[in-house]
Amino acid sequence: MLHLLEYWAARLALFGVDLLPPVAASRWAAALGSLWWTADRPRRRVAISNILRAGVTHDATEARAIGRGASRHMGMVLVESMKSSLVLDDPERLRVDIPGDVETVLEDPERGLIVVSGHFGNWEIAGQWLSRYKPVAGISRPMTNPRVQKLALERRQRGAFRMIPKYDPDPGRFLKLLGDGEILALLVDQHARRGIDVPFFGHPAKTHTTAAMLHLVARTPLTFLVCRRMAPMTFELSLSPLIEQQRSGDRNADVEAIVRTLNSLLEEAIRRDPEQYLWGHRRWR
């Protein structure tokens, strides 16, 4: 029943999106996100609990306001992703800051790149922008709602961006695509059953290690990406300088050092704009 409601909410949002100019469509989606915040009590409780636990605020009223803002933000992400060409083709709408070392890798067709981010800002726009340099493979877990998943995939502009299922049966797939000079894009802020415990906002959270291991084994450059919304349909995309971890011979220590760095970069982005983060996920279990 909930899936059907979500599906029709998404269809309603899309109807509005198609009728309205982009900025108005973004605001329309934000209003629907706000409505969703009111309707989805279980996720609301998770979000408020997470915001307080993260220490972004210690005030419950403010936590609710941040949570509602984040819900509005997620509505906007959905719409912006479907209207991404307007952003990608307009330098006024997408300001980009790439360090020299990352740019060198992006412009070298022989070199792969691991790009890590979280469910912050608009990661979809970021992935599509990256695919203008070289093919991008993103790893994803399918949405819990298959109807909304199908709808979203039908509407997105993909270009050279493709998705790989989270549980890929081919162990060499990631190594091969990086060896072929492609980009592997990973969102590392969801609960990782087989991950390692690393602090996230000061609390241990099971965190994915794939990006770190690929950096260590494939010796592929690694960077952290943030795509922050500055205004409706307007973004600032920035990449960190390359993250370099020398191998010490202690695999677990090397992996933990990288994962801690990635988590701290994500925390930094979230602290600056907590309303642009997906708080409704049970990160600490």
């Binding site: 162990p171 797939r173 087989r194 291991m213 010796r219 191998r247």
Partner: protein
């Protein structure tokens, strides 16, 4: 003992696999002709194993070469080509 040291490399490789693998396996039965896909690694554990193999032998393998290997024997050849 074989002249090219294959047996010794295989023995050391078995030890690494035994240490690194998450799933149970009869590692003593692993031979040159054993297909890698039968060892039960997935996209996560294969990276752990590769790291540990490189550390054990003190070499760096080319990932593009590694993904082409299909049997344990081909991995051994790759290790020997890189100085193991």
């Amino acid at each position: 003992m074989d002249a090219d040291g294959t047996s010794e490399v295989l023995s050391r490789l078995r030890d690494v696999l035994r240490e690194s693998a998450v799933e149970e396996h009869d590692w003593d039965a692993v031979a040159s002709e054993t297909p890698i896909e039968s060892l039960g690694f997935d996209s996560l554990t294969i990276l752990d194993v590769l790291y540990d193999v490189e550390e054990e032998f003190g070499i760096a393998l080319d990932p593009k070469q590694v993904v082409k290997t299909r049997t344990v024997g081909e991995i051994i050849t790759l290790l020997q080509q890189n100085g193991a």
